[in-house]
Each structure stands twice: as structure tokens, then as C-alpha cells.
């Protein structure tokens, strides 16, 4: 009988019934007792129950291994990863690129693991993938951005209908806190930089003081309340498509202007806030992020200013004296100097102008990493190159 059970292990019900106490009355009481407490004597257990790892234990373990930003994480189990894979246009072991400084292979699996840890939902996966692809573009200079002593953070902006599908915050408080997608996708990007790129503070990331923007810096454009074309359309994507733009930016700096009622006055307040020495733009001119609130945008647009006019104005007027500008790490190139003033941007295209936020007469500006870091916009496309109208399109592949 024992042999019979061995052969059928997997515990066919008839074998178990044959071995039940009632059928074993002819055996000694000891033998009967030994058999009766097990459903299957050849397996180590009769029932196996799988439980999730303890969040506190895993969070502490991962923290001590320098895998996290210090906040608790969701344990990245295989089961959770498989939910993320369903929303990917790639296979788990596909490598999107190598991320510096560690030259880590950015596989879909590793991206998903870090996404799970950050608290992302599975349907955030396409956006996270595109952000990582954007960072991999050589013109972004992730080598420099990750390693620098400057407090540059990865600022990512989402455009298109996906902002609604992911229930992103594009309105009041869009730069945080309080929104799941805004908080966790930005955090996931940072965890990918820790664990795939190796850009952990003091090891691969040498920011002298770091930045709160390195926890998460992720938002959507408030296209409905913008008088101008959204960023992805400006960059050649169809309005109905969705796209992710990654930028190397400092923390945001507020521009409070409640009194100006003309475009010129609002823009002058913005320009004066931007025109500071000590930022990278003052010695290596480059991109500049201007997030205008709908109310400021309405005032500026009401004065008849097109988006390109605003960008031109900021480019022409955001300047600092050369003796203050040329104090950065890299020597200032004289080609950026005009009448002893340094322009903080190389051209109007360096002014990344978007509209976001809720009620209130505020604009937020952020200086960039400088000449050697260009923002990258990636459209949400499927494997065949077609634009994904919805995240759910990924499930149909």
C-alpha cells in the first residue's frame, strides 16, 4: 500500500481513503495513529499556504541593503511582477538599455520589481518604461546627471489622455503630495536609478546635499485649462496620443504674482525669479522648466501672447551678469555672453513651458542641469510602433 501511495503522490483521493484510520483497524494502534495524522505520508506537507512577506521586515532588509529611499516598500513578489508584465509591450528579460554609472541592464523584470517596490499599480508600467527609455537617450546624459554633485532630479511630465486614465493629478497640488500615480511613478524612477543604474547617494549619486525632488518629481500637464498647445504636441506628437517627457531639473521655485494684470508684468516677475546666479544655467546655459498656473496663463494669453512669444521673451530676458554667472564648475563659454550678460537659455526652445496646477496666481520655475542635458519625450507606443490610445491597449497585444 505504501508503494501505491508513493506512485500516486499527488494524493489521489482513493489512496488517502484506503489509508484512513477506519480502513486501518487491522494495524497496530501505533501504526494507525502514525498514518492518521497525515493526508499523504510521502509529501512534506498536506496543504501549502503562501503568504506575502512581512512588509516591515522586507522594508528594513531592503533599506539596510541600500535598495530603498528610506520609505517602506511593497515586497516585490513574483506574483505581483506578473501583473505588471501584462501591461508591458516587452518580454520580462528584454533589456531596454544599460543605465549608468553601474551599466546595469534595465530589463522589464528589474523595472517592474522597482515599480512594485515604489507602490505603483500594474497599469503604470507603460509610463515607467517610457521614462526609463527617455533617460537612456544619450542626449539626456544620465552618466552626468546621476553622478553630479549638483542637485538635479529627474522631473517627468505626462501628456495626453493617459493622465486621466491613470487618475494623475494635473491640477491643484500636482507636484505633490497626495496622488498615487504622481507619487509612485516618480518614486519608481528613482528606485530604478538606485538599483539598476547604481546611483545611490554617496556611491553612484554624488549630489552634495541631494534634493527632496529626488523622492518623486512627476506630474501631468493641465491641458484642459491651457490656452496653448501641450508639450507633446509642440514636440510633434498627435494631441490624442500620450507621451512622457523626462527632464533634468532642480527643485521647483515659486513665482508669486497676484497683482499683475498684464502679460508683460506677469512675465517680468517670472523672468526676475529665473535670473539668478548660482544655478547651472548661469554658466552652462540650457533648459529651463516653467510651469505656469492656468490663471497666469490666462492673463498672458489674454494679452495676445502665443506660446512661442512667451518662450522668446523668457529666453531674451532671463540673464545674469557675467561676473556672477561664470562661477560654476565648467568654465563659461564666451559664446553665451552678450553685453556682459549671460543668457540662461541657449534658445527659446530651451524654455519648456507647460500649464499645470489649480486655482491661484503662481508659476513655478526650475533650472536645469545645463548645456549637457536635453529633455526627451517618448510617446506611448505599442511594439508595432502604433500609438497606444489607452493603457488597456497593452493588454490586447
Amino acid at each position: 500500500m505504501k508503494q501505491k501511495i508513493d506512485k500516486s503522490c499527488g494524493c489521489q483521493i482513493e489512496d488517502i481513503l484506503v489509508e484512513s484510520p477506519e480502513k486501518s483497524k487491522d494495524k497496530t494502534s501505533v501504526e494507525s495513529e502514525q498514518k492518521s495524522d497525515r493526508l499523504c505520508p510521502t509529501s512534506r506537507q498536506d496543504i501549502e499556504i503562501f503568504v506575502d512577506p512581512d512588509v516591515e521586515k522586507i522594508s528594513l532588509d531592503f533599506y539596510q541593503k541600500k535598495y530603498t529611499d528610506g520609505l517602506p516598500i511593497i515586497p516585490p513578489t513574483r506574483e505581483r511582477l506578473h501583473k505588471f508584465y501584462k501591461y508591458s509591450a516587452y518580454e520580462a528579460q528584454d533589456v531596454l538599455n544599460l543605465l549608468p554609472p553601474r551599466q546595469g541592464k534595465a530589463t522589464i523584470e528589474k523595472i517592474a520589481i522597482n515599480g512594485v517596490m515604489a507602490g505603483c499599480l500594474p497599469l503604470f508600467m507603460p509610463v515607467l518604461e517610457k521614462a526609463i527609455l527617455g533617460l537612456s537617450d544619450p542626449k539626456f546624459n544620465l552618466d552626468g546627471v546621476n553622478a553630479t554633485t549638483h542637485p538635479v532630479a529627474i522631473c517627468a511630465l505626462v501628456n495626453g489622455p493617459i493622465t486621466h486614465e491613470l487618475e494623475m493629478n494635473t491640477g491643484a497640488g500636482c507636484l505633490g503630495p497626495g496622488n498615487l500615480a504622481n507619487a509612485t511613478i516618480g518614486r519608481a524612477i528613482r528606485l530604478c536609478l538606485f538599483n539598476i543604474a547604481g546611483a545611490f547617494p554617496g556611491i553612484g549619486d554624488h549630489a552634495t546635499m541631494g534634493s527632496p525632488a529626488k523622492y518623486s518629481y512627476f506630474f501631468g500637464e493641465n491641458e484642459e485649462e491651457s490656452p496653448w498647445e501641450p508639450l507633446h504636441v509642440e514636440r510633434g506628437f498627435p494631441k490624442e496620443s500620450s507621451a512622457v517627457t523626462v527632464m533634468g531639473m532642480e527643485t521647483p521655485h515659486n513665482v508669486n504674482d497676484h497683482r499683475s494684470n498684464t502679460a508683460e508684468d506677469v512675465l517680468d516677475t517670472i523672468v526676475h525669479t529665473i535670473s539668478t546666479a548660482g544655478c547651472n544655467n548661469s554658466h552652462v546655459p540650457g533648459e529651463l522648466l516653467v510651469i505656469m498656473s492656468p490663471e497666469h496663463a490666462e492673463t498672458v494669453d489674454g494679452g495676445g501672447w502665443a506660446k512661442k512669444d512667451v518662450k522668446n521673451y523668457i529666453h531674451e530676458n532671463a540673464i545674469v551678469p557675467v561676473e556672477l554667472g561664470d562661477r560654476g564648475g565648467r568654465r563659461l563659454d564666451k559664446k553665451w555672453v552678450k553685453n556682459n550678460m549671460v543668457s540662461l537659455t541657449r534658445s527659446p526652445d530651451d524654455v519648456i513651458l507647460v500649464v499645470a496646477g489649480g486655482p491661484g496666481r503662481h508659476t513655478t520655475v526650475a533650472h536645469g542641469f545645463g548645456t549637457s542635458c536635453e529633455s526627451v519625450t517618448k510617446g506611448l507606443v505599442l511594439k508595432d510602433g502604433s500609438f497606444a490610445g489607452s493603457v488597456k491597449d497593452y493588454l490586447k497585444k
Binding site: R44, V95, N141, N146, S372
Partner: protein, 172 residues
Amino acid sequence: MKVNVTEREVMDPLADFGGEKIDLNEIPPEISKISLFDNTKPNADTILETIGSELKGIDIIHSEKPAGCGATDDQLKKAAQGNVSILALGDCGSCTTWVILDAIRLEKEGVATISICSHKFASFARNLAQAHGAEGLRILEVIHPIAGRKMDEVVEKAIKIVPNINKILNIS
């Protein structure tokens, strides 16, 4: 009945390395030209000039590159005119990165290199070189800080590494 409670497996978030090993160039037995590759970091020029002034009988080629990003092809081409190229200065994160990455580019072009980094960033520089398959890249350390220091102090720090440079270059 025996019930087994199993904790689900937790996946490792760390990525595998993808860098490919590169062959580093030997220092040529005969050196007639050395390029000094200056990334324009404050006092990088002082360090390179101090070293250059000690290299008697060797033609010096001066080339500049931006800190914090890669050299242009023309800048790299000029630096590659030397039998050996000495790069300075890695004394911050992004400039160290691009001193090392440009040194690797030169090594790939067949030019032996010596990179100079401040001691606070030398460990990162070595890890970076290793990640890019260039373990053993020649990296010399000067005492941090270099930026914001007066010239005579920088010269003093640079002179300390001249014997090491002579040794690497087989100059007696």
C-alpha cells in the same frame, strides 16, 4: 494533517552588469608627444601645467573638453594626437564621470591615458571604470579640494603626483 506556510519569494531589484571588457593600452616605450586634456574645471589647468612643465623633452598638446559631458569628436581627436593623454580633473561627480568615460574613449582609440581625480572621487572613478570594462585604468589622486583653492596650494598638490606620472611613463 501537516500545513506548510511558505513566504512568497522576494525578487532582487539589483540589475546585472552589462559593461563589456576593453583592452587598455600599454605605455609606449618611446613618448614624443603627450596631450594634456583639460576639462576646464577650476585649477585643472594649473594641475596640467604643473605636470607638463616637468615633462622635459616631450611635446605638449593642449586640448580642452567640457566638464560634465563628453568631449566632441574634434576635441577627442586632438587629444588622441599624443602618445599618451593626461586628463584632468575629476573632482566632482559628473566631471569625474566624463574624465573616465573620455579616457576610455581614448583607450579605445589606441591612446594610453592617465586620469587625475581628487581623492574624494577616486574610488567612484575606479568603480565607474570597472563598470565600463576598464578595470585597471590609470587613475592618479590629488588631495581634495582643488576648486576654490589658491594656485600655489594647487601646484603643491600637483607636484606630489609627478613622481607617479614619471614612474608610469618610465621617465627617470
